[in-house]
């Protein structure tokens, strides 16, 4: 009998102990947008290398998830590829959270197709019609006689909301559109599929896909900053109030020359030259 009690007490102690360890080890928790994820990942690796003993845990989930985590106090920083919404600010106020935005990089949203696709560029209207399911064949926009497979991001992604904002302007994306859960999955799918069209943040464009010009303008750091390229946007980190301690140091690092070097290396547009 005694041994059973001992075992129970021992297991409870073990649980408390490990839980305590987990809390102590994570001094900084970051959650949110999968667009901001690669920048944050690269930044925290070099930050943790330079500052031994600092533990930062990072997870994705989408911009909405990041802001929700900030409001629920399960994250110190909420990454987002869109501005915080009015309802979210209200909800935050109820829970005593004051979200403060930090622009850490610029991003350009880029329509991508398979490299075997002949189409070089599309207008905003053509993109909108394709995504509404009104243009269904590539030959209608100067390509081969192939069906268009529309690939979109699921509605929890900030990238989807930016696309909605820049291109769809409240028109509905066709229900035939495929919905993929991450930007990486989008690039894999488009890279393997000559029927497909999709969109990703600038950092995700690689050699396996072809970036399209929009209204005759190719996306680049210059055209995104000057807003000549129509689909450009800010990337945010949200904190509760003005950041303090480790959070402030990490954000300052991201905004520093070294941090912005990482932003550039990951394929996004730095906030300063």
């Amino acid at each position: 009998m005694n041994s059973i009690i001992k075992k129970i007490i021992f297991s409870i102690a073990l649980v408390i102990f490990t839980a305590g360890l987990a809390i102590a080890a994570d001094s900084l928790v970051i959650k949110g947008s999968t667009t901001v994820l690669p920048i944050t990942q690269a930044a925290l690796e070099s930050y943790m290398k330079a500052n031994k003993g600092v533990q930062i845990s990072l997870s994705g989930g989408g911009s909405g998830e990041g802001i929700k985590a900030l409001i629920d106090k399960t994250a110190d920083i909420g990454n987002s590829s869109r501005e915080i919404k009015k309802e979210e600010i209200e909800l935050a106020a109820v829970k005593g959270i004051k979200p403060v935005a930090h622009v850490i990089a610029y991003d350009a949203l880029i329509p991508i197709v398979n490299p075997r696709n002949k189409v070089k560029g599309l207008s905003t209207d053509q993109l909108s019609l394709i995504y509404q399911g009104k243009i269904t064949n590539w030959k209608e926009v100067g390509g081969d006689d192939l069906k268009i497979i529309v690939i979109s991001r699921d509605s929890s992604s900030g990238t989807f909301e930016s696309w909605d904002h820049f291109v769809m302007k409240k028109a509905k994306v066709t229900p035939r559109a495929q919905m993929l859960a991450s930007s990486g999955a989008v690039v894999t799918a488009v890279g393997n599929n000559r029927y497909a069209i999709s969109y990703v943040g600038m950092g995700y464009v690689n050699k396996s896909v072809k970036a399209l010009e929009v209204n005759g303008v190719a996306a680049s750091a210059q055209t995104a900053l000057s807003k000549q390229y129509p689909f450009s946007r800010e990337l945010y980190m949200y904190t509760n109030g003005e950041p303090k301690g480790e959070v402030a140091r990490f954000i300052a690092f991201l905004k520093s020359a070294a941090g912005q070097g990482i932003v550039k290396k990951e394929g996004f547009v730095p906030i300063r030259k």
Binding site: M1, G61, G62, S63, G64, E65, K68, E87, E88, L91, L146, K147, I149, D154, S155, S156, S157, K170, K172, T174, P175, R176, A177, Q178, M179, L180, A181, A185, T188, A189, N192, N193, Y195, A196
Partner: protein
């Protein structure tokens, strides 16, 4: 402490643990309904289940989950068409035909199959099967019903196979011996005696395998493509219910309509798996072999 009180104490402790799992289930069901039911104040049950348009984030939002239900049912049925013959026949081979050494190897391989994380299988479907399907059959997309069904079948086979195997082992030896004594061949014994006696167990296995497939999330999120439209062919993309819930819950504002609609989708999914399990229970109760004298 006397032996008697000790016995009693152990009994109550075990009862407590059993109660915990019931309690947990009860709380989950309770919160599922509490979060999901309020949607029906805004959308009628009929429009929710038979509505053809799922636009949860547009203005005004539309919450029709019929395409999602069709997606779930289609991938489950097609995967069962593949998994049931494979699972049941492999169980028959393992239980009745295979020599001991082969049996051990096969059993552990099937157990290993059950241990592969679904995200790994999903990844495999996305980067290997999807491009292969697309290039081989010249399809517009490789992320489709067939791809998802193949992978769900792989996941359901271990469930179906191991439960069917148990059912086959449970067939009394006397039956087999009697059959051989009457001069039946091995094949006749298997098809006419062993399978009919194990049928209730095999049916349970099939139904549990199907409920495993309908609830699986990661795989359908990764390889089903995610179109919220009713498919016109087996090579179209679909958006089964679990994929929709997993992909959208992150964004849905807390206790907003979209959030409630996703919980209500969860209720529909829960009801479907519950029905599957009830059927499995009913079948195994009704056709249970009681004692070795009955067949």
């Amino acid at each position: 402490m006397s032996r008697h009180t000790k016995e009693k104490l152990i009994k109550y402790v075990l009862f407590l643990f059993a109660l915990v799992s019931v309690l947990v289930l009860g709380l989950i069901v309770f919160s599922l309904f509490r979060e999901g039911l309020p949607i029906f104040k805004k959308v009628s049950l009929y429009d929710f289940i038979f509505g053809l348009e799922w636009y949860p984030t547009s203005d005004p939002p539309l919450f029709g989950i019929f395409p999602l239900i069709v997606g779930s049912v289609v991938v489950t049925l097609i995967s069962s068409l593949m998994a049931v013959p494979l699972g049941v026949l492999s169980a028959i081979y393992i239980a009745e035909i295979a020599p001991a050494s082969v049996k051990e190897i096969l059993k552990s391989i099937i157990e290993l199959l059950a241990g592969i994380p679904s995200v790994v299988l999903g990844f495999f479907g996305m980067v290997v099967i999807a491009p292969w399907l697309q290039n081989t059959f010249d399809l517009p997309t490789g992320l489709n019903i067939i791809n998802a069904s193949v992978i769900l079948a792989v996941m359901a086979i271990p469930t179906i196979s191991s439960i069917s195997e148990d059912a086959l082992y449970a067939v009394p030896r006397e039956f087999k011996e009697a059959s051989y004594a009457l001069g039946a061949t091995k094949f006749e014994t298997i098809t006419r005696v062993i399978i009919p006696s194990a049928l209730s167990g095999i049916s349970t296995a099939v139904i549990l395998g199907m409920s495993r497939a309908i609830g699986e999330t990661m795989v359908v999120l990764m390889v089903a493509g995610g179109s919220a439209a009713i498919p016109e062919s087996l090579f179209d993309s679909v958006r089964p219910m679990p994929a929709s819930i997993a992909a959208e819950m992150g964004e849905a504002p807390y206790r907003g309509l979209h959030y409630q609609a996703l919980f209500a989708t969860g209720i529909v999914l829960f009801s479907l798996t519950l029905i599957f399990n009830l059927i499995a229970d009913y079948v195994s109760e009704k056709y249970r072999q009681s004692g070795s004298a009955t067949l």
